[in-house]
Assembly symmetry: C2
């Protein structure tokens, strides 16, 4: 069993490596963990001793298969709890992250399986992220981004790649929530902002925001 802190390191290393197979750098971990590079080096050594990561000095880290499974399990718990908070306790999608950060460390395999069942085995969390099954498997549904759409193209909002409360509240206010269908009408050359139509309403979205809206065409 890992400590609370070790689990957070594993999760962060996982998130930093899931989109590219590169070794994860000490500084990148330090930034996400809100700590210093020296502390990260210490912890990495500890995780390497436990065979949860592969580590070569100055070369960054990779998760081992064991480490990866541990990380995925934490992600699974985090996302299941988020579903619980939104579906059962009526929290909004921008309110659940911090609470789930705590709940994800509760240690009981039985609890997770029963929660999963109680929630009817959800496939995605309230932000559209996939929920790994009990074996750590999940489908990586292909997606594009609103910022990559061409004029006239239509798509469905299937997720976000930025999870801050401020960002999610902003989307909510614009009516850009999961499952909504949109059509891109205009791309502004000047600043890259896009005009879209959602539920017959015309909305303008900055390029920065559009980059973080995941679309299934």
């Amino acid at each position: 069993m890992q400590s609370f802190t070790e689990e957070n390191y594993l999760k962060i290393i996982y998130h930093l490596s899931v989109n590219n197979d590169q070794a994860v750098q000490t500084n990148a971990i330090a930034e996400k963990m809100q700590t210093k590079a020296a502390s990260v080096t210490d912890m990495i050594k500890k995780l390497a001793d436990k065979k949860l990561v592969l580590y070569k000095k100055y070369q960054g880290v990779h998760l081992t298969e064991t480490g990866k499974q541990a990380a995925i399990n934490i992600v699974r718990k985090h996302r299941l709890w988020e579903v619980f908070l939104v579906e059962k306790l009526n929290f909004k999608w921008d309110e659940v992250h911090d609470i789930a950060e705590e709940l994800e460390h509760i240690n009981s395999a039985e609890l997770v399986e029963r929660l999963d069942e109680f929630l009817s085995f959800p496939k995605n969390d309230p932000h559209g992220d996939p929920i790994p099954d009990k074996h750590g498997k999940f489908d990586a549904v292909p997606f594009t981004r609103l910022s990559k759409l061409k004029t006239g193209e239509k798509g469905l909002i299937m997720g976000v790649s930025e999870h801050s409360s401020a960002f999610l509240k902003h989307l909510e206010k614009l009516g850009l929530t999961l499952g909504k269908t949109l059509t891109l009408t205009t791309i502004t050359d000047f600043d890259g902002s896009v005009e879209i139509i959602v539920e017959d309403k015309k909305i303008s979205v900055t390029r920065e925001v559009a980059k973080h809206i995941l679309i299934r065409i």
Copy 2:
């Protein structure tokens, strides 16, 4: 905000003082915390610095009003989570304690209130213990014990004063669960065991077990 460990100390001091207004002794805390008296002294000093307990050397501790409210809040969370685990996730009453020990430390007032509402504001946990409301208030329903009943007396099982899994499983097997009505037929002088009738079945219960069955006449 208190640390995980501080919260456990507060909770234990609360449980040790709730049934008698005496100061709580260092050794008693050490036993419940599964630690050494020296460690308890250290922690007590820390809690005293934070004004959560009143402490005089060699004289044990009392909770302050602030400390008591903090402790009651942890108890509230523990018992609400137990209700959730039993009512919603179908755990048995002997399976929930350890998981609730972890869940009770989750820090979100909003979460607790919504959980309370989701569970329809339960008054008691799966072992019959009262759940404090959000202001820390709860009714101390008077009770006696099966071991105190006289021959021929009737009563209703309203709780237990021993929460170990082994004990709860034993009661379950005997059919002695919350809400059951029983009649005491015989008290054995020799060993203090009692014969009772529950749902038309005759059962013999040792004195030690009878002591931990709480009865409302």
